[in-house]
């Protein structure tokens, strides 16, 4: 299965009596990087979890082309990649073992090749057989991104992917994301880092208290728009 469009339609999610998200509607197409911007607790991670099919929306629905999470199941999950705030890596395993485990879990046809490419992209070929627990945050972040990209997902969901990266790694990641965008990936990126985001994202959604805040318009720079959308200027 494949898709080139992601749409959230009136999506809401509550945990008990607490509303984490409500009335979220947007659309995103292949070749776009959609920025999800908002303060802590705005609902960005919850929305990413819903888009990743790990949470079911309490109201509304998410469409992946003509498919839904219910109808496509495992086939849809094979087209999704998620890099969360936690890195989804086993610290006791080596970098190679981590990637190989997930490559085999995704039943890739050439897991060894995919792993070697991933290690090279992460600039970790020289540390491939070292346990991940001994890596710096930046190294783990780069490895985690490659884990999320091993199976060449159509939809890539990133939660604060620039955390812990030095300037060179941020630049490399930005270039990688732009490359994926140009290859037709659909990327949703939640971040606080407005300076980096401005350079990378095609479009932005502002989230405040679980709701979409009005975008003041494309004329101003991202930081000004963000502050206006959050009602802080």
């Amino acid at each position: 299965m494949d898709f080139t469009r992601l749409a959230a339609i009136d999506v809401g999610r509550h945990f008990g009596r607490r509303k984490a998200l409500s009335q979220i509607t947007f659309e995103c197409r292949a070749g776009e990087i959609l920025g999800l911007l908002g303060p802590n607790g705005a609902g960005k991670s919850t929305l990413l979890s819903i888009l990743a099919t790990l949470l079911t929306p309490s109201t509304g629905r998410v469409e992946y082309g003509t498919f839904s999470a219910d109808s496509a199941g495992a086939a849809l999950r094979s087209r999704l990649g998620l890099l969360g705030h936690d890195l989804y890596l086993y610290p006791e395993l080596t970098a190679r073992e981590n990637l190989m485990f997930f490559a085999q879990l995704y039943a890739l046809s050439e897991p060894a090749r995919a792993v070697a490419e991933g290690l090279e992209h992460a600039a970790l070929s020289g540390r491939a057989d070292d346990q991940v627990g001994g890596f710096s945050r930046g190294m783990r972040q780069r490895l985690a991104l490659e884990r999320a990209l091993l199976h060449k997902p159509r939809l890539l969901l990133l939660d604060e992917p620039f955390t812990g990266l030095d300037q060179a790694s941020v630049a490399a990641l930005s270039a990688r994301l732009k490359g994926l965008r140009d290859q037709g990936s659909l990327i949703v990126l939640a971040t606080h880092d407005l300076d980096v985001a401005e350079d990378v994202i095609s479009r932005s959604l502002f989230l405040r208290d679980g709701r979409l805040a009005r975008d003041p318009g494309p004329a101003r720079d991202l930081r000004t728009r963000y502050l206006q959308a959050m009602g802080q200027s």
């Binding site: 990743a52 998620l82 890195l87 086993y90 006791e92 879990l105 995704y106 884990r147």
Partner: protein, 227 residues
């Protein structure tokens, strides 16, 4: 079926590799189980003689307590780096992930039980080698019944704040029939004249519980893990 087994094997292999590197679950579980048996032996053995029928009960109590400790820790490990989310996001049969976690747990329990059986045999003078095949069958089927429910609950509770309290509260009442069948079956074997007929009866009951618990767990794992 092939894909199911492949995924289950991947999870088992990964869990065992992690455990071999850290020895975290095995060391704490073995230490705890041995302590339980030693404490009972100091309390119950008088003048070198243990009361009749206590060996089987102590063996299963130690197994249940140590198993609960291991169950909590194995999923705690998946929670710490949120790797459970990565597993659930993979396009693999989710029941196969459950089966992999269950098999890994059974392997660890088997290692602990080997030590426990030898220790109980030594301290309580239980005839642990009188019907070895039946004893192994009872322990394997009892562990399967206990771990099948425990693995499901531990996975369910992975995000609960009070998971360490909730796991035994949920697990022990449901696995009481398994414990009773295990203790009675093992006690029948630990008699001076082993009663193999009675042991087989309890084994059959254990196999019935296993079939029910494993089927229910495989059936409910996916909906329970989808929030």
């Amino acid at each position: 079926m092939k894909a199911f087994l492949r995924v289950a094997w991947l999870v088992v292999r990964k869990d065992l590799t992690v455990e071999i590197r850290s020895l975290e679950i095995l060391s704490t579980t073995v230490f705890f189980a041995v302590t339980v048996v030693l404490v009972f032996s100091f309390g119950l053995i008088k003048e070198g003689r243990a009361p009749e029928d206590v060996a089987a009960a102590i063996l299963w109590i130690a197994m249940a307590f140590a198993g609960t400790l291991a169950l909590g820790r194995t999923f705690d490990r998946e929670r710490q780096n949120e790797t459970l989310r990565a597993l659930l996001l993979a396009p693999a049969d989710r029941p196969a992930l459950y089966a992999g976690k269950l098999l890994g747990m059974l392997f660890l329990l088997a290692l602990v039980e080997v030590l426990l059986v030898l220790l109980v045999g030594l301290l309580f003078q239980a005839p642990v080698f009188s019907s070895p095949a039946l004893l192994i069958a009872l322990l394997v089927s009892g562990s399967l019944g206990f771990a099948s429910v425990g693995t499901l609950f531990a996975a369910m509770l992975v995000r609960a704040r009070s998971r360490d309290v909730l796991l035994p509260i949920l697990l022990y009442p449901i696995t009481v029939p398994v414990m009773i069948a295990g203790v009675r079956g093992t006690a029948a074997l630990f008699q001076a004249a082993p009663d193999e007929v009675m042991a087989r009866f309890w084994l059959a009951l254990l196999l019935f519980f296993d079939a029910v618990f494993v089927t229910l767990a495989l059936w409910t794992f996916e909906p329970l893990m989808t929030d």
